[in-house]
């Protein structure tokens, strides 16, 4: 008993004050990219060729955040001339096209469907479906339930059954072997329901794009309402997305 108390005192209260107080991540964190629109075509081409995810448009220089895995190679290769990755972790969007960007994203709070806010704003239950990814997305969603983030203080919970859920939060490139499970789980969620595609895999196949063994794009199977980019999305990226889309 004494040990429990001693540890409790040592650990203290650690819940972040976000969103009331902003959080700044370490400078090496690669968040929203800021593309230099005056970059030379030659450098853009070089970065586009080198990008492992084919995420850079070699004509316009826009980056597709749904394909990007935020590896930072384009920044290194161009020595910051083509792009700099900021520490801004607010990356989510309601429309797929909005993810193709020079670095500006529409404000999610204004862009989301108003009826979701009315329905789920005070209490949101999500069923997470791990559809063939590498498990990093799942790990950084799980962490939202730990004291620093404490997701349930916002009225948001991940539930064990699709029957209890208001929507699905899908990660992974939808492997063929999980396709059926995703569709069945989605069907088991009572309407009205919301669909979230989280991580590069669920948006575009991520690192596995082109593989025969994946579907590669959740939107092909089920219309997606909310896109959360990243590889994996930082927990704060997910938290920002959930808070702004639903509240």
């Amino acid at each position: 008993m004494l040990k429990v108390l001693k540890n409790r005192l040592e650990q203290g209260y650690r819940t972040a004050k976000y969103p009331k107080q902003p959080i700044t991540l370490y400078e090496r964190f690669r968040g929203l990219p800021e593309v230099n629109r005056n970059c030379s075509v030659e450098i853009i081409r070089r970065c586009a060729d080198a990008c492992p995810q084919a995420a850079i448009n070699s004509d316009t220089g826009q980056i597709d955040l749904g394909r990007c895995v935020f590896c930072g190679f384009c920044e290194t290769l161009s020595e910051g001339e083509f792009v700099r990755f900021s520490q801004d972790f607010e990356l989510a969007a309601a429309a797929r096209d909005d993810l193709v960007t020079y670095g500006d994203l529409p404000r999610l709070a204004e862009h989301s469907h108003k009826h979701f806010k009315k329905l789920f704003g005070r209490s949101l239950q999500l069923r997470q479906i791990s559809a063939g990814g590498c498990n990093a997305c799942e790990a950084d969603i799980n962490v939202l339930n730990t004291p620093f983030f404490d997701l349930s203080r916002f009225g948001i919970q991940y539930v064990a059954s699709p029957r209890h859920a208001d929507g699905i939060h899908v990660t992974g490139p939808i492997s063929k072997n999980m396709r059926q499970a995703v569709l069945t789980t989605y069907a088991a969620v009572p309407s009205p329901k919301v669909v979230i595609a989280s991580g590069a895999c669920a948006i575009s196949g991520g690192p596995f794009y082109g593989s025969d063994e994946i579907v590669g794009d959740l939107n092909q199977l089920i219309p997606v309402d909310l896109y959360i980019p990243g590889c994996p999305p930082h927990p704060l990226t997910t938290l920002h997305a959930l808070l702004n889309y639903f509240k």
Binding site: K3, N135, V143, P173, N177, M178, A181, E213
Partner: protein, 504 residues
């Protein structure tokens, strides 16, 4: 041992130097090596690969050294598993990937549920146009009072998909069958066909929580094939990254195990503290999982004075917290009552199955590839040792606790040295032709290995990935025998194996 070629970890081997045996000699050599007489003989790699229209088998074995041999692959051959369980999954995998048939395999069933690469008739009679459910021959115990429990692939928590089928007598589990394949993404096929620039991204996402170990295996293998040297400073960064990965995962799991036995405070504390270590990985690499850091030739980010100061300060603050929370967990009688003598895998079974990593060490198999086949600067660092090795949940938990403290001390030692890492800008590079290399690193789950073969043009002919989970999943199935089904969560957590690392 005459027929096997001794090789070193990450050594560039000419394929023409690999002993090319007749199948019967190959089979005998492998069984002798891994059999009773050579109890420490284990398999690192054993796979089929195409060679100019034919199929061949290649095996990399370990005792205190590494050995390699190959042979032509007969379409049907006498199974090795029939005589040694170590070959079980490897033979099933080659049946699934290449349509080879190991005759006499005691339980020939699919591994990942996908069509084979050669277009041969499917060994299991599967038609892959239909979805996976119902196409698997689950083991069934008959009897009026026997009941069957099925879990997954979509699990209650936020975790990877997999299927568990229990045959139970009341609470008692008679048999657990674990079925995988739900996360099969075709990683090996991709690694063999994509442009060079995509390789590190794929390595990092084979198993997300094992980003660093897989990235290291690939980088080292490619460095060997290209002929690149890595400087000592980069090596230090790599080791720090790998040990940070180990610490974060062990801490998270000890917290989760505490939650599974309803002791909430350490779960909350370790849940948060794990994030602190992930944030240290982020300070080094810019990503909580260490992505973007390790590339062939070195590392993309240095640990400069600023990063070093942050790491040292955090370690000073976190280490006593970790010690106290660990002490809280392991001195609680209610926790120990649940952990001790639960989910026991005997030493004999561990040897027979070839269990690796902390699971193996907790069963009394002391193998740690950082000690036996050191890479980077592991050869200069002090080894860990474990003393609670009864093969139960408690032993696995104690081993992991010891590994946390050992990794902390390794990182402290490395941070005390002056930093001088070169950061590296990758370039277009050529691989040695007709070559082979095998890379082993001690990922946080255990021996992680990539084996690459190149063809005469220097293209990747075969890229074989082996995650430590490939060895250890059968260990979990054994641990559940005769256990209460309600102990499944802590048994599963005490192993914490990778589904995606297995599924590839």
């Amino acid at each position: 041992m005459v027929e096997l070629l001794p090789i070193k970890n990450n050594e560039l081997i000419l394929r023409s130097d690999i002993p090319d045996l007749k199948f019967d000699d190959f089979r005998k050599a492998l069984l002798d090596f891994t059999g009773e007489a050579g109890q420490t003989g284990q398999i690192v790699q054993f796979f089929a690969y195409p060679d100019q229209g034919d199929l061949k088998l290649l095996a990399v074995l370990r005792s205190d050294k590494l050995y390699v041999a190959s042979c032509d692959a007969p379409a049907k051959f006498t199974s090795l598993t029939a005589e040694s369980e170590k070959f079980n999954l490897f033979e099933r995998e080659m049946a699934e990937q290449y349509g080879l048939e190991p005759e006499g395999h005691p339980w020939l069933k699919m591994v990942r549920y996908h069509a084979n690469y050669t277009g041969r008739p499917d060994i299991f009679g599967n038609d892959y146009s239909s979805a996976i459910p119902g196409n698997y021959p689950y083991f069934k115990v008959d009897g009026e009072v026997v009941h069957e429990v099925a879990v997954g692939p979509v699990h209650a928590g936020i975790i990877e998909p997999g299927h568990f089928r229990f045959q139970c007598l009341g609470e008692r589990v008679l048999n657990l069958e674990i079925q995988h394949g739900y996360q099969h993404r075709g990683v090996e096929k991709l690694l063999q066909t994509v442009p060079f620039k995509r390789l590190p991204i794929l390595a990092e996402t084979i198993a997300g929580d094992t980003t660093t170990a897989h990235a290291l295996c690939q980088a080292q293998a490619l460095e060997s094939l290209i002929g690149l040297e890595v400087d000592a400073g980069s090596s230090r960064v790599r080791v720090i990254a790998l040990e940070l990965e180990r610490i974060a995962n062990h801490i998270g799991d000890l917290g989760a195990m505490s939650l599974d036995v309803a002791f909430a405070p350490p779960a909350a504390y370790f849940g948060r503290i794990r994030g602190e270590y992930l944030n240290l990985s982020q300070i080094v690499s810019g990503n909580r999982f260490g992505r973007g850091l390790i590339r062939p030739g070195g590392v993309t980010k240095v640990i400069g004075p600023e990063q070093r100061e942050l790491l040292v300060a955090k370690f000073a603050k976190l280490t006593p917290e970790v010690e106290h929370v660990n002490d809280l967990i392991f001195s609680a009688p209610s926790v120990l009552a649940r952990f001790e003598n639960t989910g026991t895998v005997s030493h004999a079974d561990a040897v027979k199955l070839g269990l690796v990593g902390y699971v193996g060490r907790a069963c009394g198999l002391p193998y740690d590839s950082r000690i036996t086949f050191p890479t980077e600067i592991y050869g200069e660092l002090p080894a860990n040792s474990n003393h609670v090795t009864d093969g139960d949940v408690c032993s696995r938990a104690v081993v992991r606790r010891e590994e946390i403290m050992h990794s902390i001390s390794l990182i402290n030692t490395l941070l005390a040295k002056p930093e001088s890492a070169g950061s590296y800008l990758p370039a277009r590079l050529k691989l040695a032709p007709s070559a082979m290399v095998v890379s082993l690193n001690e990922g946080w789950r255990g021996e992680t290995s990539h084996c690459l073969l190149t063809d005469a043009a220097g293209q990747i002919l075969r890229y074989k990935v082996k995650d430590p989970s490939f060895h250890n999943w059968p260990g979990l199935a054994m641990a559940l025998r005769d256990e209460g089904i309600s102990d499944f969560p802590i048994c599963n957590k005490s192993f914490n194996l990778s589904y995606c690392g297995f599924d590839l």
